[in-house]
Point group: C2
Chain length 145, copies 2
DNA sequence: CCATTGGGTTGCTTGTTGCAACCCACTGCG
DNA sequence: CGCAGTGGGTTGCAACAAGCAACCCAATGG
């Protein structure tokens, strides 16, 4: 499909992939730690890790020779998924939070304030809303009728 | 799972849901238009639309009485998925683009410049990077060993 | 010498998808 | 009036993907 969203979903748009990436951000590196944290079946995890490595999101590194042991760490490409995770985190907090459980909060250590991630225009720094955006070429998917 | 990312994925983390939402942003409203644009099976589409309506992402509105005809439009909750779509769009553009095809560009109509969406701190307006963020409570998913 | 750990593979069963066919209510057309 | 076309689905079946449990192997610790 000739759409960047679709191509992104092709890489991470599947039940486990993004959760694996989230765990990788949280510092998880090893097979059994992913497994323990996610409760995913071993074969499915092996499959997902392999495909994320093949797509360049994770890198498989041997950190011990005998016995051979591997760890999975984010590549630069994988680290650039952070905005996707942050926006999803925010949406989930806002719309799907448990009433009783306070959500995890984020602190921006450079300004030492609790932060909410907002998506802004790289040029004028204002928050982006759909009404103020135009695609070029224009993509209106309503067929002529 | 007690994680906002996981809860978000529970709603939209499935092969078609987010593509349906993307089309809804592009103005698609009717069953057969989604179908034509996505190439999705009818039963699966009916199922996804139903679940997105049940989760409050889309609203099903009758726009014609006899014969009954319905359209699916984004709710405020659904419209707030825009940041997720924009960040995914950007990632796909950057890392999964066809070499030959120029990606769709976004123009911010308020400043009339081509824009890239960046994720910034709501407080200090700087771009957020993982190294400058702390979660609270701290979520490090590396079990003590 | 035996249990444990890391990192898997294999086989079987169950749940999801996709595809095609069908359905129903209406509209427009001749 | 009859009949094709359109919107919005449901039903049935086949193919594939995911989950679960069992097994494997190499090394390490005691």
């Amino acid at each position: 499909m000739e759409c960047s969203v679709a191509r992104t979903l092709d890489v991470i748009g599947e039940r486990w992939s993004l959760l694996i990436v989230r765990d990788a951000f949280y510092g998880v590196r090893r097979f059994d730690d992913f497994r323990a944290d996610l409760g995913i079946a071993r074969n499915v995890l092996a499959d997902r890790l392999g495909s994320l490595v093949a797509r360049g999101v994770l890198e498989r590194r041997q950190y011990e020779a005998r016995p051979p042991r591997y760890e999975y760490v984010l590549t630069p490409k994988g680290r650039e998924l952070l905005p996707v995770l942050l926006t999803m985190m925010r949406w989930g907090d806002r719309w799907e939070a448990d009433d009783d459980a306070a959500p995890v909060t984020l602190t921006h250590t450079t300004c030492e304030h609790e932060t909410t991630p907002v998506v802004t225009c790289a040029h004028c720094a204002q928050e982006l809303s759909w009404g103020e955006l135009r695609t070029d070429p224009i993509r209106v998917r309503i067929p002529a009728r």
